[in-house]
């Protein structure tokens, strides 16, 4: 079982990978911790420096569209964000997130506001999201069992390692 509790950082629709981390930053380093200070800098300057460990990213539709670069999901994790809730995710971002153990959940995020206190629980076949500020349960889409296995193992590589196939 995975449990998370944190405040919401709310973003809009179509947050692309270039907004998550600009290509020009990536040219200088592949150290995700270093890159994390530039998270979302082109759309919310200074955000990367202010992120509090354990808080949760909330977005609209098509989160992570644009490039396939895995650094986008890794930088979010390096900034200390363990969960992203969005109406939908771009598919390469979704793959990369799940592969790296970043919890990505599709749900209707309309009611969530900046700083709302959220709790998220993930078990195989069951996800529970609660907005404690509004005192509501947010219904979400299931994560397929196979992919939940990857998440519970901490990512694809750890899963395959444990499973002996890599």
């Amino acid at each position: 079982m995975l449990n998370f509790a944190g405040c919401a950082y709310v973003f809009g629709d179509d947050i692309n990978t270039d907004y998550i981390i600009a290509s020009r930053r990536k040219r200088d380093t592949i150290d995700n911790k270093e890159l994390a200070q530039f998270l979302m800098e082109d759309i919310r300057p200074g955000f990367g420096q202010k992120v509090i460990q354990g808080n949760i990213l909330v977005a609209g539709k098509n989160f992570g569209c644009g490039a396939a670069m895995e650094v986008a999901s890794l930088v979010i994790q390096a900034a200390g964000i363990p969960v992203v809730l969005a109406k939908s995710f771009a598919r390469t971002f979704y793959r990369n997130g799940i592969n790296g153990g970043l919890v990505l959940i599709k749900c209707n995020t309309d009611g969530i506001e900046e700083n709302d206190e959220l709790t998220v629980t993930v078990t195989k076949g069951n996800i529970k999201i609660v907005d404690n500020t509004k005192n509501v349960i947010i219904p979400s889409e299931e994560i397929p069992d196979k992919l939940t296995d990857y998440l519970l193992a901490g990512g694809l590589i750890s899963y395959l390692n444990r499973d002996g196939s890599i």
């Binding site: 290509s23 020009r24 040219r27 098509n62 644009g66 397929p144």
Partner: protein, 425 residues
């Protein structure tokens, strides 16, 4: 790995057929499968992370190194010390593992087909979103992450969710002056940047059938801009002819959808009256017809990238420029997509004429498209480009505006110094 074709059921899409073949059982949209990968691509933007992952899990043996290509195309020539070290890591890795290294040859999405690494029926993955370009060759090709490539390099396989498919049938005949780029921009405007997320697209219809492979590559390339997992073109005599000119040693298995294939959505459209289309800042689905944006002043024009840097594109620009000069207020950057394209353009005198007109020709690479190379626009400047993305800061300056259009639109705008309808030239 071939599965029993008797169980096809006659209702499969191209994506379902490719995944069935590659995973050894009948696969349907929504299934999670472990499928055999035919070719895996890494670029200098994604390879370092994959190499780091392999190092971390202490795996230095690649299962099938001849089917793994590392291409140095994003940061070319090496712009600083840090990238120099990344490139060195890639060279060393290829020497040690036997993977293909292609450096200073051009953009991955142009050179992998030229080198015969892409054939019909293939399942190809690349840690670059525009890997979907290979759909033009009737392959299922999709962008993935660095971890995905690491896993496929070690095991030869990878997990996939078999996508459902949108069938896009384009009927009629494109009017004079409207080209493949306009078609895909129109589609982005119609269905939006996530209109095909998680889905494969099959393109069909007379307009597609009449397009050259170069043009089909433009459409497949930009399928990711509408979220698609793959943008697959039909196999026909044009594919066959294109492939016959290069040396292909792999066996190929063209794939057709069953007549009764089940689609998520079918879009049928007659584009006989389509105008040239423009993607306005800062979204690829922020589409206007050329008539709506004519007159916007232009400071820089970019012709090239994996979307439109092929020989046909350069030849078209050359033809248009023969009767005109570039506007003195416009800097024009031209980037051939590969050395092969570049050489052919040199031999045909195209490059010389570009330079005489005052354009700058860069070596084949991703160039200014993603702000990783030379050619960064200044504050407040407007760029017109044949590339595939116009996000804020995409070309390296968050205070510039990027408009996307066809080769024809870009050249006409460079001639006039403003966004201009090339049909009026």
């Amino acid at each position: 790995m071939l599965y029993n074709k008797g169980v096809y059921m006659g209702k499969q899409t191209i994506a379902e057929k490719v995944f069935s073949t590659k995973c050894g059982r009948v696969a349907h949209a929504g299934d999670i499968v472990i499928a055999e990968v035919d070719h895996a691509l890494l670029t200098d933007a994604s390879a370092p992370l994959t190499i780091e992952i392999l190092k971390k899990i202490k795996r230095n043996k690649v299962k099938d190194p001849k089917n793994v290509s590392l291409v140095i195309d994003h940061y070319v020539p090496t712009p600083n010390n840090k990238v120099a070290r990344l490139h060195q890591t890639m060279r060393k890795f290829c020497r040690e593992t036997g993977c293909n290294l292609y450096e200073m040859k051009g953009i991955s999405h142009q050179i992998l087909p030229e080198l015969g690494h892409v054939v019909p029926g293939d399942l190809i993955i690349g840690a670059d979103s525009h890997t979907c370009t290979y759909g033009a060759f009737n392959a299922f090709a999709s962008g993935v992450g660095s971890t995905d490539i690491a896993v496929s390099m070690v095991t030869g396989n990878l997990w996939f969710i078999v996508p459902s498919t949108i069938k896009i049938q384009l009927d009629g005949r494109l009017p004079q002056g409207t080209v493949a780029k306009d078609v895909i921009l129109w589609l982005a405007g119609k269905i939006g940047s996530n209109g095909a997320t998680y889905k494969a697209i099959e393109y069909t219809g007379r307009i597609i059938n009449e397009m050259s492979i170069d043009q089909r590559m433009t459409i497949s390339n930009m399928s990711i801009e509408i979220g698609a997992k793959a943008g697959i073109m039909p196999y026909d005599e044009k594919t066959e002819k294109w492939l016959s000119r290069i040396s292909v040693t792999k066996s190929m298995e063209p794939v057709w959808a069953d007549k009764q294939a089940i689609y998520d959505l079918e879009i049928v459209e007659d584009l006989s009256n389509l105008s040239p289309q423009i993607a306005c800042p800062h979204r690829v689905d922020n589409i206007c017809s050329i008539e709506e944006v004519e007159g916007i002043p232009i400071n820089m024009a970019v012709l090239g990238t994996c979307t439109n840097g092929r020989y046909e594109d350069l030849a078209k620009a050359d033809e248009m420029l023969s009767n005109y000069d570039l506007n003195p207020n416009v800097r024009m950057l031209i980037i051939p997509a590969s050395n092969e394209v570049y050489l052919k353009a040199i031999r045909d005198g195209i490059i010389e004429r570009f330079i005489l007109k005052g354009a700058v020709v860069l070596i084949p690479c991703c160039g200014p498209c993603c702000g990783t190379g030379n050619g960064i626009p200044s504050d407040g400047e407007n760029v017109i480009s044949t590339a595939n993305r116009n996000f804020i800061g995409r070309m390296g300056n968050i205070n510039s505006n990027i408009y996307l259009g066809s080769v024809e639109t870009v050249v006409a705008s460079a001639i006039k110094g403003q966004i201009y309808d090339h049909r009026k030239l």
